[in-house]
Amino acid sequence: MSDLATPLNGRRAVGYVTVSEDAPRGMISLRGDLSDGGIAEAVRAVTGANLPEPLGLTAGEAGQVAWMSPDELLLFVAPNQTTDALTGLRSRLEGVHHLALDVTDMRAAFRLEGRGVREVLAKVTPVDMQTLAPDTVRRTRLAQVAGAVWLSDEETAHVVCFSSVGTYVFDVLATSAAPGGEVGVF
């Protein structure tokens, strides 16, 4: 299906960590007053997830919610659910000052797998990758561009960036993960 297209068509590079384009996901950017109960309710209704704490990531049966800033969340839903979720949000937030947008197509997402995921990311971001707890989302710098990283477990990391620089970020990660570059400190 054409609407499942991703910017890199599922590219993959195998080094001492495997870097691959993540499976397609719907992404919704939601801005609003997060302390307003209405937002939490709407988010729960469409994803099943609770509102995350700052820098947190929560999951529900229909999606995940990542904290982006004090007034912004990023919702991940199944790719074919984006429009419904968006409609759901908008109708529930009728009358509440907010902004909800489909941002699926403006992002590229990567998955890193292997024992060295923390280390490979530590080559491209100034975040302390040694201590970053799983399900903590850090928006940061990835080499020369902005992006977000989080770990879902010790051997799986996720990276999201803008789609126009998807190829760049992929290449940077693949280079960092290339054999012979093992640092071996974490």
Partner: protein, 980 residues
């Protein structure tokens, strides 16, 4: 003569032999050798030539402070100049070349400089080469440049790759000698996250050579045992990271550090990066970087074979290499006696120990006496030889150098005492104290560099802190006080002083510093820059203290009053490659790609960089050049239909109850009155009033707008909006989002545009349903789309935005549907020409950061009704309202030719500075395919008031162009074509 001993050598494995070459000659060393030890094992002490006088030089140290033994390493894409032989691990096949000599290391023509050295004192070049004036650049400078410089420049691209690595911890300890290890243990036991690094490939520092020799103990254990034990304990601790071959190179503010890891220099061509630059963010930095021995300033102290005493015993202990077979030790302290003992034990003849002190009583000298080695007290030396030292002449230390006898030898071990290594401590402003008795600067613990919280960011430990013998930890032989000696002998005359080298690499001698002082270069910083003391690749690690002392003496002031020069990173030079890291080739910078980028690449796009995007300038067909391609593309748009990838245009959603109010503040025109479903062209200015961006705003709903920006403007303008929302008008209820990349945007432009789109089906795009400056949402060919009827070409035009991942599909469908109308993509140049023919301005061409909208005749887009908008106040200033401002007009050349890019309109006469007066400039100039002649826009003084006037525009091509002022709209003045 230098040679390998039959036994010994802690670092080497004699069973593994390694072939290498030096200046083309094949030689053999063993595993564990450095290039320097391997060369000396082969009898080769002469390794290079000095910078200025091209004097023969051999290694003077065994480590990172080496100023002399610099070589060119490797070949082709792996060639590196100025590599220190003393820290270059030997590997099979290593190829090294000596430097700064011609034709050969032994016979160097440049060595004539040494003969002329009397005429080439410090700073001689400031005093001569003055006449004739043109000779400096044409004659003298090239000769000086050729004779200066060290290694050969690398050529071409680097065959290796590099990377960075960020590390975070509580404490970073630099130096894994006993002091660093002990500190690591105590910090680790406190539960801190500790990083302990050492530049060497083994732990233990000097304790392994020095501590093992005289039976000193650490905590009651032998040094070797203690070190092994400490490392073993640290290795078991979760919170400790231990790294060898990692040099702390720079200390920066807020606990930030760089460290330099050499990964594959000793196995070139293997997988993985060559160097890795660590970027460390740490809570506290400990410098346990030890101490460096100082040379003694005696005449001939730079001859090959004259070496630091500690280096000589390192070569012996670590590599089983004796630098000579008959050695004289010259010292002012007890430590050098360890070298005498080491040599003696290894069977090397020690001809004498010459000690500057008049009475020598300590334990170590005692052992030397017991070994039957002669100790000459109260004395100094002068060394003689040619390409290696041949003998020393003894003299009284307090005298003028009158010879008291000669001792023949082939190596001299010298020691002027030790200095703590203060570099990292000092990089961020840590202060030093002077210790008179031991004659060194050491960190002042009360004035450390301060961190972000105002607390001490760095502390020093062990020898680096001035505790040379680690008094709290180690129990060794008592050492008697040293006697500071800055010039040997103290009353040496000028003849001798011109042979006493301070800075070996840059050939700075005692006489040079004294000359500098005489000429008033008495500030230590002046003396440095006048003589180049400490400016060589070793950054004065050996020379600075001696130089300072000589300067202090010349000034008649104490050393601490003179002070040191500034310590700057890096600790030792690091490769540029490591600084650039992974950023090379494809990933030198992010290259931004639109969803249609791949199609452009496959279809002849001639790209131009626009910010980090690459946009097709035009699409070249076989046999076409840029000019003919652009012409074809433009004509095709005017007569058929063209396609433009406009995805890079910025798209910002602005939503909220106050969205209209906010946009009224950021645009010069009124946006709150825009109707839902309609579009309006808008301008944005800076507070200075200057035009910063333009674009079409579409009102999406009662409370939301979509603002288009220029390609370069997307991020900048989004940031500009957020800045005002967050920091100035935070009471406004508005959210913004930069959705530039969510949408692929394709402009379908030309008389046949509607026909093509109608073939795709799904939306009513008729003039009535979607009039000019309206937009609609729907689906085209099954793809959800927003269609804007806006035009930057003056033609019937639709901009279609679809979700980015379907952009390519839409593009393909448009090409397919448009085939029968000869649809063709066009590039940025075609876009520019089309808009110029219509007199539309382009941000960056008609505007340049100094232009206000009023200059461009855009007053219609500046609301008079609004009390305020960003830039309004700025535009009220006197210079902005000056009627003489240059304003936008069209220009047509009288002969139809194309005006040169960037040309100026001249006026009569000259200004007060003798410059030709100007009255305007060309902002855009093109050949118009539609009109088949040159067209241009220009900013001209009072331009619009001067229609019809003919102006003179000189080109740099020697021609002078004549052009008439006209309306900037060259084509379809009534605007009927776009509104069909």
């Amino acid at each position: 003569m230098a040679h390998r001993l039959a036994t010994g050598g802690r670092r080497i494995d004699r069973s593994r032999r390694l072939g290498f070459s030096f200046d083309g000659q094949s030689l053999e060393g063993v595993q564990g050798d450095t290039l320097a030890s391997a060369l000396m094992a082969n009898g080769q002490v002469l390794m290079g030539r000095s910078f200025k006088y091209h004097r023969p030089r051999g290694p003077v140290t065994a480590g990172h402070e080496e100023p002399n033994a610099l070589v060119g390493l490797g070949q082709g894409g792996r060639f590196e100049p100025n590599a220190r032989a003393t820290t270059t691990p030997l590997h099979e096949g290593l190829r090294a070349q000596s430097q700064n000599r011609w034709p050969s290391l032994k016979f160097d023509v440049g060595a004539v400089n040494a003969k002329l050295s009397r005429f080439l004192p410090a700073g001689f070049y400031y005093k001569t080469f003055l006449w004739p004036a043109s000779f400096w650049h044409k004659v003298y400078e090239p000769i000086i440049r050729q004779s200066a410089g060290l290694g050969r420049p690398p050529e071409g691209s680097d065959a290796d790759r590099y990377e960075h690595f960020y590390h975070h911890n509580d404490v970073t300890i630099v130096g894994g000698g006993v002091a660093g290890l002990a500190r690591a243990l105590s910090e680790a036991q406190d539960g801190k996250r500790v990083l302990l690094i050492d530049q060497d490939d083994r732990w233990g520092g000097r304790a392994l050579t020095d501590g093992m020799r005289d039976g000193a103990t650490i905590d009651g254990q032998s040094a070797e045992t203690w070190v092994a034990d400490a490392v073993a304990r640290l290795e078991t601790m979760e919170n400790v990271t231990l790294r060898l071959n990692l040099q702390g190179t720079g200390v920066y503010d807020h606990g930030w550090m760089t460290a330099y890891e050499r990964i594959s220099d000793h196995r070139p061509g293997t997988e993985g990066p060559r160097h890795r630059l660590w970027k460390i963010r740490t809570g506290h930095i400990v410098t346990a970087t030890g101490a460096i021995e100082r040379p003694l300033a005696f005449a001939g102290n730079d001859l090959p074979g004259v070496m630091l005493a500690s280096a000589m015993r390192d070569f012996l202990d670590d590599f089983g290499v004796a630098v000579g077979s008959k050695v004289v030790v010259v010292t002012n302290n007890d430590d050098a006696y360890r070298t005498a003992l080491a040599l003696h034990e290894a069977g090397v003849t020690v001809r004498a120990v010459v000690d500057a002190r008049t009475s020598v009583t300590g334990a170590l000298p005692g052992q030397v006496r017991d070994a039957g080695i002669e100790i000459v007290t109260g004395s100094g030396v002068k060394a003689t030889g040619d390409q290696v030292v041949r003998s020393v002449e003894l003299c009284a230390i307090g005298g003028d150098g009158t010879s008291k006898g000669r001792i023949s030898c082939d190596a001299v071990a010298m020691s002027g005492g030790w200095s703590p290594v203060p570099h990292l401590w000092s990089h961020c402003g840590g202060k030093l104290l002077w210790d008179d008795a031991r004659a060194f600067f050491y960190p002042d613990a009360n004035r450390p560099p301060l961190g972000a919280d105002g607390g001490a960011m760095v502390s020093a430990e062990g020898a680096a802190a001035g505790d040379l013998t680690l008094s709290a930890l180690t129990q060794g032989p008592e050492e008697a006080p040293m006697r500071p000696v800055w010039i040997m002998p103290e009353k040496a005359g000028p003849e001798l002083r011109t042979k006493m080298f301070l800075d070996y690499q840059n050939d700075v001698k005692v006489s040079d510093i004294q000359l500098a002082a005489r000429e008033g270069f008495i500030s230590v910083e002046h003396a440095k820059r006048y003589t180049t003391l400490g400016m060589a690749t070793d950054q004065g690690k050996l020379s600075n203290i001696n130089g300072l002392a000589v300067l202090a003496d010349a000034r008649g002031e104490p050393i601490p009053t003179v002070g040191t020069t500034t310590f700057r990173p890096p600790f030792t030079p690091i490769s540029m490659g490591s600084i650039a890291g992974e950023a090379r080739g494809e990933i030198f910078q992010p290259l931004r790609r639109t969803p249609i980028h791949a199609w452009h690449e496959e279809n002849g796009a001639d790209f131009e960089p626009v910010g980090q995007w690459r946009r097709p300038y035009c699409y070249l067909r076989p046999g076409e050049d840029r000019h003919s391609a652009v012409k074809r593309e433009v004509l095709n748009v005017r007569s058929n239909v063209g396609l433009l990838d406009a995805s890079t245009l910025g798209k910002i959603v602005v939503k909220g109850p106050d969205a209209g109010k906010f946009l009224d503040l950021v645009y010069t025109n009124m946006m709150s009155t825009l109707k839902v479903g309609r579009c309006r062209y808008g301008l944005m200015c800076s507070e200075n009033g200057f035009l910063i961006d333009d674009g079409v705003v579409a009102r999406l709903s009662e409370d939301s707008y979509l603002c288009h920006t220029t390609t370069g403007g997307a991020d900048r303008i989004h940031a500009h909006l957020e800045e005002f929302l967050q920091t100035e008008w935070w009471d406004l209820q508005v959210y913004t989002a930069n959705v530039t990349e969510q949408w692929a945007q394709i402009a379908v432009v030309g008389p046949n545009a509607r026909k093509v789109l109608e073939k795709l089906g799904g939306m009513d795009l008729s003039k009535d349903a979607l009039p000019f400056m309206a937009w609609a949402e729907g689906a085209l060919a099954g793809i959800p789309a927003r269609v804007f009827r806006i035009s930057f070409s003056g033609e019937l035009s639709y901009e279609v935005a679809v979700p980015a991942n379907q952009g390519r599909a839409l593009w393909d469908k448009l090409l397919e549907a448009g085939a029968e109308f000869d649809i063709q993509p066009y590039g940025t140049e075609g876009l520019h020409v089309l808009r110029a023919e219509k007199g539309f301005i382009m941000i960056g061409d008609e505007s340049d950061g100094t232009v206000i909208p009023q200059d461009l005749g855009l007053n219609w887009a500046i609301s008079k009704k609004k009390d305020d908008f960003i830039g309004k106040r700025g535009q009220e200033r006197s210079h902005m309202t000056d009627p003489d401002r240059w304003r936008l007009v069209g220009l047509e050349t009288l002969d139809g030719s194309v005006l040169p890019d960037g040309a100026y309109v001249v006026d009569e006469g000259e200004n007060a500075n003798g410059q030709r007066n100007m009255q305007g400039r060309v902002t855009s100039t093109y050949y118009s395919p539609t009109l088949d002649r040159g067209i241009a826009m220009a900013l001209v003084r009072r331009g619009p008031e001067r229609m019809g006037e003919v102006l003179e525009i000189p080109g740099t091509d020697g021609r002078s162009y004549k052009a008439r002022i006209c309306d900037p709209v060259f084509y379809d003045k009534e605007g009927v074509r776009q509104d069909v």
